[in-house]
C-alpha cells in the first residue's frame, strides 16, 4: 500500500494502482475516453490528464502508477484548461448533428463538454467526412463521429482476437478502418458487437436501435443470455416492452464480453412463430397443452417403452444451450433411469 494525496485528501491505495484507479475507488471521477478496464492502456485521448506535484507536464492518470507521497490534483486550473482544449479539438473535427444522434444523452463527448462548459470550438478549419459504412448486417460505422480513442481496435484484437480494425494514415488523417480500407462485410468480423459496446460516441451504432428511441427512453434490463451454457450476463435495451438491442453488462463472469448470438441474436423473442406453450400431437395435429400435462405424457411414454423394449431403445441428445450441470444430470438420467449409454451432445456433431 502507498499513501497518496488527491485533491488535498490522503488515501491509502495498493501500490500497483494507477492514479485513475486510485481516484475512482475513492469516489473521485476523472473523465476518460480511451480507457477501458481490461484493455491495453494506450493513453491516447489525454482526457484523464492530472497535475502531479513536482512534474512539469500533465500526466495521463490511466497510465501513471501511484507512488508513495504522490500529490495529485484532478481538477486544477491547468488540468481543466488542457481538458477544455482537448474537447474543443475533438468537436472541431466531429459531426455535430447531435440532435438526431442515437447517442445523444448517452455520449461521453457530450457529457464532458457539458461538464467543462465547452459550448463551441474556436478551432474552425479542416474537418474529416467519411461515408457511412452500412454494409454490415448488424451495425453502422459513421467515422465522421469517430474520436480515434482506439477502443474498438483494442477490444477486437485483444478480446475477440479477430483483429478486424486498425489505424490507417497518420496525424490528422488518421482513421480507424479494416483491412484494405474495406467495408466490414469483407473482413473477418464475427459480429460480436463488442466494438459497438465500447464506443464512447456515436461512431458505431447497432442498426436495430436506429430511430427506435432516445437513450433516456430505453430501459436496460439485466438478463442471462439463453443461447449457450456459458451464461453470459447482458443488458437488454427495452423500449415499450420490446427489445431493441443489447449492451454489455460488466458485472457477470463474461466481463461484458459477448458474441454475435448474445449481442444480435435476440429477434426470435418477438417472433410470431415462437413456441410459447408445450404441444402434444393428437390425431396428427399438435394441440396446446399445459406443462404438467406434457411432462406427465412424456414420463408415461418413457416408462412404457422402457418396459416394452428395454433401455437400448432410447438415445438421448443434449444441447449446448444447457449448462454443464444440466448436461450432467441428463446423462445421469439416461444411464440410471433409462438404462442406456446412448447419450450424446450437439457440440460433438
Amino acid at each position: 500500500m502507498v499513501s497518496i494525496t488527491i485533491n488535498g485528501n490522503q488515501y491509502s491505495v495498493p501500490a500497483d494502482y494507477s492514479i485513475l484507479k486510485a481516484a475512482e475507488e475513492n469516489g473521485i471521477n476523472i473523465p476518460t475516453l480511451c480507457y477501458e478496464e481490461g484493455l491495453t492502456i494506450t493513453g491516447s485521448c489525454r482526457m484523464c490528464v492530472v497535475e502531479v506535484k513536482g512534474v512539469r507536464k500533465l500526466l495521463a492518470s490511466c497510465a501513471t502508477p501511484v507512488t508513495e507521497g504522490m500529490e495529485v490534483q484532478t481538477e486544477s486550473e491547468r488540468v481543466i484548461s488542457a481538458r477544455r482544449d482537448i474537447l474543443r479539438l475533438l468537436i472541431a473535427n466531429h459531426d455535430l448533428r447531435c440532435l438526431t444522434c442515437e447517442r445523444n444523452g448517452d455520449c461521453r463527448l457530450q457529457d464532458y463538454c457539458y461538464r467543462y462548459k465547452v459550448e463551441d470550438t474556436p478551432y474552425k478549419g479542416d474537418k474529416k467526412h467519411y461515408p457511412i459504412d452500412t454494409d454490415n448486417h448488424f451495425f453502422i460505422r459513421d467515422y465522421s463521429k469517430c474520436i480515434k480513442c482506439g477502443k474498438c481496435v483494442s477490444i477486437c484484437a485483444e478480446v475477440n482476437g479477430a483483429h478486424v480494425y486498425d489505424f490507417m494514415e497518420r496525424g490528422f488523417d488518421t482513421k480507424v478502418t479494416s483491412a484494405f480500407d474495406d467495408t466490414l462485410q469483407e473482413t473477418t468480423c464475427t459480429a460480436c458487437g463488442m466494438c459497438v459496446n465500447v464506443c464512447p460516441v456515436g461512431a458505431l451504432v447497432e442498426k436495430s436501435v436506429l430511430w427506435e428511441g432516445r437513450p433516456w427512453e430505453v430501459k436496460k434490463v439485466t438478463t442471462t443470455c439463453s443461447y449457450c451454457g456459458v451464461g453470459c450476463q447482458l443488458k437488454l435495451k427495452v423500449k415499450d416492452d420490446r427489445i431493441i438491442g443489447v449492451t454489455a453488462d460488466k458485472s457477470g463472469s463474461n466481463l461484458g464480453h459477448l458474441c454475435a448470438k448474445g449481442q444480435f441474436g435476440w429477434e426470435y423473442v418477438h417472433s410470431q412463430d415462437r413456441l410459447t406453450d408445450p404441444l402434444i400431437k393428437r390425431n396428427g395435429v399438435f394441440e396446446k397443452a399445459s406443462w404438467e400435462e406434457a411432462l406427465t405424457y412424456v414420463a408415461h411414454r418413457l416408462q412404457g417403452i422402457l418396459q416394452e423394449r428395454g433401455g437400448q431403445a432410447f438415445a438421448g441428445l443434449s444441447s449446448a444451450k444447457c449448462t454443464n450441470e444440466e448436461n450432467y444430470l441428463f446423462q445421469k438420467f439416461m444411464r440410471t433411469v433409462l438404462h442406456t449409454n446412448n447419450v450424446d451432445h450437439c457440440a460433438r456433431l
Binding site: 479539438l89 479542416d126 497518420r170
Partner: protein, 591 residues
C-alpha cells in the same frame, strides 16, 4: 608517408568527391607515386560548404572545392613538396589563403573529440580504426566490473545527445538493475530534424566508434544483443555500419567470448521507413517489433520493459560515440570539458544564413556568438543577424540578446529553446519569423503519428491559424489562441513530438510578437517573405523607363512604353520580387 584524405561524406560525394578520389588514384598510379602518397577515402570533414575537401598530412594542408580537373596540378605540387595555393581556403574577410586546417576559422574553436576520426580514417577499414586506438576502450572496459563502467560514465557527466539530455550513466544503471533473461542496447540513428546530420556523419565517418560504444554499453547493462535503428534515407551510413559489423565479427570484436572474456554481443541493423516520430524511443521499439511506429505511455520505461518487453537501453549515435572517448581519456579528464552540468562537447549542424555551413564540434558552454560568428563566419551576404533556431522543429528561437548565452542543456531550456539533436539554423533580417514558425509547424503536423488528441488535432489547428496569419487573414485573437493551445499541447501530449511541437511558435511569439502583430493588424510582412502581404509599386518619379523590370517579369504584370513610367498590374503580379531586384534605379518598392 604522406596521406591524402579525400572526404567521402554524403555532402562531398554529392559534389563529386568520388570522381576526385578516382582521379587522384589514377594520377598517383600513372606517376608511380603510390609508395609516397597514401590515398584514403574518409568520412565527413564537417566543412560541407567548401566541399569536396581534401586534407594532406602531415602538415594538414586543407584544400577546398576540389574538382577532378584540379588533380594533375595538385599532384604536381605535392610531388614537389609544395602546397597548391589555388585550392587553399580563402578567408572571406581578409582574402588571405590559409595553409592548414587548424588555422581555418571554422576549425579553430572546435574541439573535435568525438569527430576525431571523421575525415582521418578510412571508415571501411577496421585496421585504420584500430591504429587510432580503436577498440582499446573495449579492452579496458572488459577488465572492469560493469558497475565500475557505469560509475565512469556517471563521473564523466555524459548526458544524452539526442535531445533529452538525460544522464547516460543513470540510464545505464536503471537497465543494469533490471533483471531479465535478455536485454537490449539500441542505437538510435533515426536522425530526423531538418538540417541535422551529425549522426549520419558519425555513422559514415567512424562507424566502429558507434559499435564500440554499443559494446561498452552492452557490457555495462548486461545485454547480449544490440540494434541500430537507422533511417533508410541514409544508405551510405547503413552500408558503412554493415561493413563495420562484418569486419568486427571477423576480428572477434563482435560475437561470443569477446577478447577472451565471457561477454557475448551481436548487433543487427534495422532500417526505419522515415517517420520522424520513430526517433522517439517507444515508437522506435514498436517499429523494430514490426508494429506501427506509435509511442506508448511511459512508465514502464525501456530500462524496465523495452524491446520485446525486455529491459532495453536506448542511446543516440553521438552519445554512444562519446563512450569510447570517455573510457580512453578517463572520465575525470572528460568532465573538465564543458560547464558544471553539461560536460564534454556537442556537435552542431550549422545551417541557414551563415557563411560557413557544416558540422562543428564545440565544447559545451561556448557562446552562441562564437558558434555563429567565429566558427560560422557570420551572417551570409553581409546581412544583419536576426535569430537562430536551435534544436530543430522541437526547439526554439533565440535572438541577438542571447548571443552571449553559454550553450548548454539548462541555459537553452531556460531561454525557451532546447539542445535537441544540435540543429542550428541561422536567420537574417530577410527571414519572416511567422513563416518560420509555420514551416516548422507544418513539419511537426506532417510527422504527428495521430495517436494522441492534442498532437493529432492541435497541431493541425495551430498550422491553420498560422496559415491564416501569413495569408493576411489573421485576427488578434489568433495570437492568444496560438499561445494557449500551444501551451496545452505541450502540457498534455503523449510523447516528445507533441510536447515540443509548439515551441517554435511560442518562442517566436515571445521574442517577435511585434512581427506577428504587423501581419495581423497592418497586413504587412516586414521581412518581405509572406507573398499574400506583399505588393510592389513603381515610384513614377524614379522610373527611367528602361524596361528591365518589364522584361524580367515572369507573369507579364508590368506595362509601360518608352519614356513612360512603368506600372505593375497587381492582379497579375505573383509577388516574386524579381522586378525590384532588377531595377537599377531603386524605383520599385515593396509595401
Amino acid at each position: 608517408m604522406k596521406e591524402i584524405l579525400v572526404c567521402g561524406g554524403t555532402g562531398c560525394i554529392s559534389g563529386d568527391s568520388r570522381l576526385v578520389h578516382d582521379a587522384l588514384e589514377q594520377e598517383l598510379s600513372r606517376q608511380g607515386l603510390e609508395a609516397e602518397f597514401k590515398l584514403k577515402y574518409t568520412g565527413c570533414h564537417g566543412f560541407c560548404e567548401q566541399g569536396p575537401v581534401i586534407l594532406v598530412t602531415p602538415k594538414d594542408n586543407f584544400y577546398c572545392k576540389v574538382a577532378p580537373q584540379d588533380v594533375p596540378n595538385l599532384i604536381h605540387q605535392l610531388k614537389e613538396g609544395k602546397v597548391y595555393d589555388e585550392l587553399l581556403y580563402v578567408e572571406p574577410t581578409t582574402n588571405e589563403r590559409i595553409l592548414t586546417r587548424h588555422d581555418v576559422p571554422f576549425y579553430k574553436k572546435q574541439q573535435r573529440l568525438v569527430l576525431k576520426n571523421c575525415g582521418i580514417i578510412d571508415p571501411e577499414n577496421i585496421d585504420d580504426y584500430l591504429s587510432s586506438c580503436g577498440y582499446k576502450s573495449l579492452q579496458k572496459v572488459l577488465k572492469l566490473q560493469p558497475e565500475q563502467v557505469i560509475q565512469e560514465i556517471k563521473t564523466s557527466g555524459l548526458r544524452g545527445r539526442g535531445g533529452g539530455g538525460f544522464p547516460t550513466g543513470t540510464k545505464w544503471d536503471f537497465a543494469r538493475k533490471s533483471v531479465a533473461d535478455n536485454k537490449y542496447i539500441i542505437c538510435n540513428a533515426d536522425e530526423g530534424d531538418p538540417g541535422a546530420f551529425m549522426d549520419r556523419s558519425l555513422s559514415e565517418g567512424d562507424p566502429h566508434a558507434v559499435l564500440e560504444g554499443m559494446l561498452i554499453a552492452g557490457y555495462a547493462i548486461g545485454a547480449q544483443e544490440g540494434y541500430i535503428y537507422i533511417r533508410a534515407e541514409y544508405p551510405l551510413a547503413v552500408k558503412r555500419l554493415s561493413i563495420a559489423i562484418e569486419q568486427a565479427k571477423a576480428r572477434g570484436y563482435l560475437g561470443k567470448n569477446l577478447l577472451g572474456s565471457k561477454f557475448d554481443f551481436s548487433i543487427k541493423i534495422k532500417q526505419g521507413a522515415g517517420a520522424f516520430v520513430c526517433g522517439e524511443e517507444t515508437a522506435l521499439m514498436e517499429s523494430i517489433q514490426g508494429n506501427r511506429g506509435m509511442p506508448r505511455p511511459r512508465p514502464p520505461y525501456p530500462a524496465v520493459k523495452g524491446l520485446w518487453d525486455r529491459p532495453s537501453n536506448i542511446n543516440n549515435v553521438e552519445t554512444l560515440a562519446n563512450v569510447p572517448v570517455i573510457m580512453e581519456m578517463g572520465s575525470e579528464r572528460y568532465a573538465q570539458i564543458g560547464t558544471e552540468k553539461s560536460k564534454g562537447t556537442k556537435i552542431f549542424a550549422l545551417t541557414g544564413k551563415v557563411n560557413n555551413t557544416g558540422l562543428a564540434e564545440v565544447p559545451m558552454g561556448i557562446t552562441l556568438r562564437e558558434v555563429v560568428f567565429d566558427i560560422g563566419g557570420g551572417v551570409s551576404d553581409g546581412k544583419k543577424f536576426k535569430a537562430v533556431q536551435i534544436g530543430g522543429p522541437s526547439g526554439g528561437c533565440l535572438t541577438e540578446e542571447h548571443l552571449d548565452l553559454p550553450i548548454d542543456y539548462d541555459s537553452l531550456l531556460e531561454a525557451g529553446a532546447m539542445m535537441g539533436s544540435g540543429g542550428l539554423v541561422v536567420m537574417d533580417e530577410s527571414t519572416c519569423m511567422v513563416e518560420l514558425a509555420r514551416f516548422f509547424l507544418s513539419f511537426s503536423r506532417h510527422e504527428s503519428c495521430g495517436k494522441c488528441t492534442p498532437c493529432r488535432e492541435g497541431n493541425t489547428r495551430l498550422l491553420e491559424i498560422l496559415q491564416r496569419i501569413v495569408e493576411g487573414n489573421g485576427e488578434m485573437e489568433d495570437l492568444d489562441r496560438l499561445q494557449s493551445l500551444g501551451e496545452n499541447i505541450i502540457q498534455s501530449s503523449l510523447c516528445g513530438l507533441g510536447q515540443t511541437a509548439p515551441n517554435p511558435i511560442l518562442s517566436t511569439l515571445k521574442y517577435f510578437r511585434q512581427e506577428y502583430e504587423l501581419h495581423v493588424k497592418n497586413k504587412v510582412c516586414p521581412a518581405g517573405v509572406c507573398k499574400a502581404l506583399l505588393s510592389y509599386k513603381v515610384m513614377e518619379d524614379k522610373c527611367k523607363a528602361c524596361g528591365l523590370c518589364k522584361k524580367s517579369c515572369p507573369t507579364e504584370a508590368i506595362t509601360g512604353e518608352k519614356k513612360q513610367a512603368h506600372k505593375i498590374d497587381v492582379s497579375k503580379c505573383a509577388q516574386c520580387g524579381v522586378c525590384m531586384e532588377k531595377c537599377p534605379f531603386d524605383a520599385i518598392i515593396r509595401g
